[in-house]
């Protein structure tokens, strides 16, 4: 059966799984819920693979099909259109594959949790929306997926909704995303306004014909791109809207792995890459993207240095890695960005899941200061974690080495302020390797800082370690697409994506072969430096350091949350409670409503006396009416204006 022709099957399956679990799962045993959830995702993964096979077999021609009309209003059409090209292929495989692995992992991790069926229903629903987002062939449908994953993220962050912090985190994520979405919608409106359509094909085709705007010029495309990017910052946790992601760690760890590391948060990157034509026509927007990405990468890394919660560390690491991706897109190395997106999906999912395994082993403990010396007890987890760390730190031949390397290379080659970007990125890389190895040492080395009798550490079941190993393998080999590039060969990944990005891609150029070697060596050195510093500081240190000065500042995340609370939240609360509620709502709106009611009552009081309830009076009125009508009909002289009676 040609999957490519009915692409809708791929997103539909998770939806069905979600519906079935959500409706009937409450009654069913875990085994049944598992089979439904895993079955739906697994089959949809297989379908995706099959679809990709057909796609490649078909000479990898971009596939696009309009399945049915969804909204049609005048010239505007938003249909349920799905498309499949190289970019989609990457995203599709990442989403379904990693998603499937994380589903398997979850069966083990969530085994002892309540609301089992609910969790998997949400998870499947997320898969559905994510796939819609990835496969969508127009901005509107993409936005559906966009909002849908937001919803699922909200639901899953607040999964333990009895915990206030969890519920608040969920709300925070949702609201912050709203701000981004607002920008995104404005961007869509502007695009429709200027291109008369929101269909990728048409928009890009028309945009391609436009004259690229000059640097520093804020033309239509630029503004649209910036607005889209605002949405991206919200979804992908970039400055200044990153604040929700760390709090999102309140959710179950698999959720953090799937949604807040591997897939959803990369949606922003995907959108930017998808609309690369627009961006390449708007250098200003590109520059802003690059700067924001770079800044975020560094900024988040610095916060990550001092966090004591193992998941928080990973969260900030995620933010900074996303920063790298945006940096890549900003400097025009879209394929590099997507490349890093993929590798990041592998190793960050690996790290999160390992962390989850650790937490599982520690019986829910998340503070690294209460761990230590776990390397003996939970070997499998330890090795997986180590793989992930090496990978993210960027040691060859692990995945991130290649992806991050190509990003930094592109940044170095970018014409405007490339050196600065490169420098900051490199610094961020050092910090990355530092905090990651800090995590390793605090968690797995030194003597244990926890109560043996209370916590009894145990290795996780196979259902958890299995996916870990697969991901470990992937994060080792995931980068080897670009391996030949080092030795003068060509970057197969960029090659694969080139039909999509084509001209927009800012290639390093062959001349820079030697330069690339130098840069990669520098990167490895930087990573090693971070490793050494971490070793120096934490291999012996056993007590939680008193925090003052810079450390305090970082530990409190630059007081950004407090700042927002003071600048945005409190004024808003004051406004809504004192003005909008007391004045507008209670005063004007209620006043209008009650006023209308009172007016009606008054009129009724006035005229109700005509309603004597006495049939005879009514009869008399009827007689009067009859007289008037007959008079009008037969003696129009009474009313010259009216029709001329019977002739």
């Amino acid at each position: 059966m040609p999957i490519l022709e009915n692409l809708w099957i791929i997103p539909l399956l998770p939806l069905l799984g979600s519906a079935i679990n959500g409706l009937f799962g409450a009654k069913w045993s875990k085994a049944v819920v598992n089979s439904v959830a895993l079955g739906s995702t697994g089959v949809s993964f297989l379908c995706a693979v099959e679809a990709v096979r057909e796609f490649l077999a078909g000479g990898s021609q971009p596939f696009r099909k309009e399945f049915f009309d969804w909204i049609v209003a005048g010239s505007f059409r938003a249909g349920f259109d799905l498309q499949l090209d190289q970019l989609t292929v990457v995203m599709l495989l990442v989403v379904t594959g990693v998603g499937f692995l994380i589903h398997i992992y979850s069966t083990g991790y969530m085994a002892h949790e309540g609301g089992y069926y609910r969790f998997f229903s949400y998870l499947n629903l997320f898969m559905f929306f994510m796939l819609i987002l990835v496969l969508a062939a127009n901005y509107v449908l993409l936005f559906v997926g966009w909002e849908g994953v937001g919803l699922c993220s909200y639901l899953l962050i607040g999964f333990y909704f009895l915990k206030k912090s969890a519920a608040d985190a969920g709300k925070k994520a949702f609201i912050v995303n709203r701000i981004g979405d607002f920008g995104f919608m404005l961007g869509m409106f502007l695009l429709f306004r200027s291109f008369g359509s929101l269909d990728f094909q048409t928009v890009f085709a028309k945009a391609a014909t436009w004259q690229p705007e000059a640097m520093g010029q804020f033309g239509t495309i630029t503004v649209a791109c910036i607005l889209l990017f605002v949405g991206a910052t919200g979804k992908s946790a970039q400055l200044p809207l990153y604040v929700w992601l760390p709090d999102a760690m309140e959710g179950p760890t698999p959720v953090s792995a799937l949604i807040h590391a591997a897939t959803m948060v990369t949606a922003g990157v995907y959108v930017v890459a998808r609309s690369h034509i627009l961006f390449s026509h708007a250098p200003t927007a590109m520059y802003i993207v690059a700067i924001v990405g770079c800044a975020t990468a560094f900024f988040a890394a610095t916060i990550g240095l001092v966090q004591s919660d193992i998941k928080k560390v990973l969260a900030y690491s995620t933010v900074s890695q996303l920063g790298y991706m945006f940096l890549a897109c900003g400097v025009g190395a879209f394929s590099a960005g997507i490349f890093h997106l993929m590798t990041h999906a592998f190793f960050k999912a690996l790290l999160f899941l390992s962390a989850g395994s650790v937490i599982h082993a520690m019986g829910g403990e998340q503070d690294m200061w209460n761990m230590g010396g776990l390397s003996k007890k939970i070997k499998a987890t330890y090795w997986c974690m180590l793989f992930g760390t090496i990978a993210i730190a960027g040691f060859p031949p692990f995945a991130a080495f290649f992806s991050k390397d190509s990003i930094l290379f592109a940044a170095y080659n970018s014409e405007k302020g490339g050196k600065v970007l490169y420098g900051v990125g490199l610094l961020a890389a050092v910090l990355t390797s530092f905090y990651m190895f800090r995590l390793i040492w605090l968690t797995f080395y030194g003597e244990n800082r926890y109560d043996e009798h209370r916590v009894h550490v145990h290795e996780s079941p196979g259902s958890m370690t299995g996916p870990l190993m697969i991901l470990a393998f992937l994060s080792l080999t995931g980068g080897w697409f670009a391996l030949p590039a080092l030795f003068g060969g060509k970057d197969y990944f960029a090659e694969f994506l080139s039909p999509v990005f084509g001209a927009a891609e800012a290639g390093g150029g062959e001349a820079a072969q030697s330069l690339e070697h130098i840069l990669s060596i520098v990167a490895v050195v930087a990573a090693t430096a971070g490793l050494l510093v971490a070793w120096r500081m934490y291999s012996k240190k056993v007590t939680r350091g008193t925090s003052e000065g810079v450390h305090k500042l970082l530990y409190n995340k630059y007081y950004v949350d407090e700042l927002y609370a003071a600048v945005v939240v409190r004024p808003l609360v004051w406004l809504s409670s004192n003005v909008l509620w007391k004045v507008v709502d209670a005063g004007m709106i209620d006043g209008a409503v009650n006023g209308a009611a009172d007016g009606a009552a008054a009129v009724g009081d006035a005229v109700r006396h005509a309603q004597s309830g006495n049939t005879r009076s009514y009869a008399v009125w009827v007689v009067v009416g009859a007289i008037v009508v007959i008079g009008i009909v037969f003696w129009p002289i009474l009313h010259p204006a009216l029709f001329g009676g019977v002739r």
């Binding site: 009724g604 109700r608 309603q611 004597s612 309830g613 006495n614 049939t615 005879r616 009869a619």
Partner: protein, 100 residues
């Protein structure tokens, strides 16, 4: 041979008397009779016209009017019986709850 006008005027007079009865009488049953009287006046006009125009359509209408009158009488008298039971009076002026 009687001119059609005579019939029409007679029906007008009867109709007027029906209206008069309706506004003048107080007994619900009598009011219904007044309505019947008006209907009869209308029937007379119908028949007169149909005779004048030489077409039996008017008489068909009369049949319909009679049917409607019968149905109306059946339901109306049912209502009257209920009213009499509940209000203990047939005086239409005492049945005046239909007001604020």
């Amino acid at each position: 041979m009687v001119p059609t006008n005579y019939y029409l005027i007679l029906s007008a007079i009867l109709f007027g008397l029906g209206v008069l009865a309706f506004v003048f009488k107080r007994n619900i049953i009598t009011l219904f009779m007044a309505i019947e009287l008006m209907l009869n006046a209308v029937n007379l006009a119908f028949v007169a016209f149909s005779q004048a125009l030489g077409k039996p359509d008017g008489e068909v209408f009369v049949l319909f009017v009679i049917v409607v009158a019968a149905a109306e009488a059946a339901v109306g008298l049912g209502i009257i019986i209920l009213t009499a039971r509940n209000r203990r009076s047939l005086n239409v002026e005492h049945v005046n709850l239909l007001k604020l």
